[in-house]
Amino acid sequence: MSRYGMVIDTVRCVGCMDCVVACKTENNVPEGFNRDWIAYDVQGEFPTLQMEIRSERCNHCDAPPCVYCCPTGASHVHDVGGVVLVDYDKCIGCKACVASCPYGARFINPEGYAEKCTFCIHRVEEGLDPACVSVCPTHCMHFGDLDDPNSEVSTLLASRRHHTLMPEAGTKPRIFYLT
C-alpha cells in the first residue's frame, strides 16, 4: 500500500506562486481562499539573516488530528496513498477540523463544508502529478510514495537534509522541506 508525500526543495523555491495559481485553477478554489500558499521565513540577526521560502499546504499527516476529531467521518484517510480527504456530503461544517489543524490548512468553503488540499487525488489516480508539482518552474516540488525506497521522494529524503513543519505538534506531517 502506498503512502503519498511531497518533498519541496527550499533551496530551489523562489516563491513565484505558480503552485498557488495552479491549485486555484485546477481545483476551482473559491475567490479569497487558498489551499496552498507561500511562506517567507526569515531567521537570524542582521546582517546574518537567512530566508527560507516554502510552498505550504495540508501536510496529509500520518496522525491527522482533523480526522480524529471529525464527528461524522467526513474527514477521512483515503484508501489510495493515505491521502487525507473530506467527504463534502458528510461534512456538517462544525469546524472542529479547522480548530484541530496546527497548520491552518483548512477553511470553510462558502457552501459550508471544510475544504483543503487533496494532493489532487483526481489527477494522481490518473497517473499525473498534483497540479502544483506539475507547474513548478524550478522543479523544486516532488511527489511520490514515501513507502517505496526507490521513489524520487524517498531517495531525496535519504540524501538531503530536511525538516517538517511543527513536528512538536505530533501530527507526523508528510510534507518534507529540503534545506
Partner: protein, 310 residues
Amino acid sequence: MQELTITRHNEMIDPLLHIWGWEIPVYLFLGGLVAGIMIISGYFVLQHRYRHTVFTTFYLPYIALALLSGGMFALFLDLEHKIYFWRLYTTFEWTSPMSWGSWILLIIYPALWVNTLIRIPEPFKGKIPLFDRLSALLHQHPVLIRNIGVLNMVLGVALGMYTGVLLSSFGARPLWNSAMLWALFLVSGLSAAAAFVHLITTDVYEREMLAKADNAFLTLELFVFGGFITGLLTSTKVHIDAVRLLLDGPYAPVFWVFVIGLGILVPLAIQLFAVNHKIRHTAIAPILVLLGGLTLRFVIVYAGQYSTWA
C-alpha cells in the same frame, strides 16, 4: 529573530483563528448548566425530596430540557453546513469527542423526560394519561426512582466533563491542552446550576443548602483554576504564551475582573455572609455566578482560538 510572512488570508483562519463566535460559548455554558442541574436534580431525587418540596424536583427537569434545547439550537446555528446536521447520528466516531457529545446529548433527553415523571406538576397532571400511568408505575417501584436519580447524576457528570474534553482534545490550541479543563467546566457548571436553583427556588431549605453548596463549588473552582494555570505555566513555551493571554495578555482584563473577581470572589464573599446570616440572601450573588460562568466560556473559547503553536 524569526519573521514569518505568508501569502494566505483565508476567512476565519488568518491572521488569527476565529471560527467559533458566540454560539459555542453559549452552547458550552448551557450544556454545563444543564449538567449541573441534572446532578442537583438527581441528588434531590436520591434524597427523596420529591416527596416534600414544591419546586426543585418538579420543575428542574423541564427547565433543563428547555435549556438543553436552547444550547443545541445555538450549536445548530454555528454549523456551516446545516442541512447535513443529521449526519452526526449516522455514525459513531469513537476518536471524536464531538461525536461522543452528540450521542450523550441524545441520551440525556429521555433521562430528563423520565425524571419529569417522578412528580408531574399539578398544572400538567391529566394532560397526557400515559405519563400519569407511567408516573404511578414509578411510585409502585421506588427502585426505579432511585435509578432515575443515579442516571441523571451520571449523565450530568458525563455532559459536564464533555464540555471541557471537547476543547482539550484540540492539540493545536495550546490554551486548551489541559487535563484540568474538564474539571473546570464541570465545577463551573455545578456552580452555575446551584446559583440558578438558588435564584429561582421558593423553598428556604433549598436556597440555604444550594448557597452553601455554591460556596463549596466556587472555592473548588478557584483550586481548579490554580491547577489549570500552573499546569500550563510549567509546560512548554507555547503553553506559557497561551496561558499568559489570560494572565497578562489581551484577555486578562475580562478574565481577572469578570471571571475571577465578579464571577467567583465577589459572589463567594456575598454568599459566605448570607449563609452565616450576616446579610439576607439576594439575587446579586447567583446572577454574578451565572454571568461569570458564561464569561468563562467566552474567554476560554476565544483565547483558545487565539493561542497557536506557530
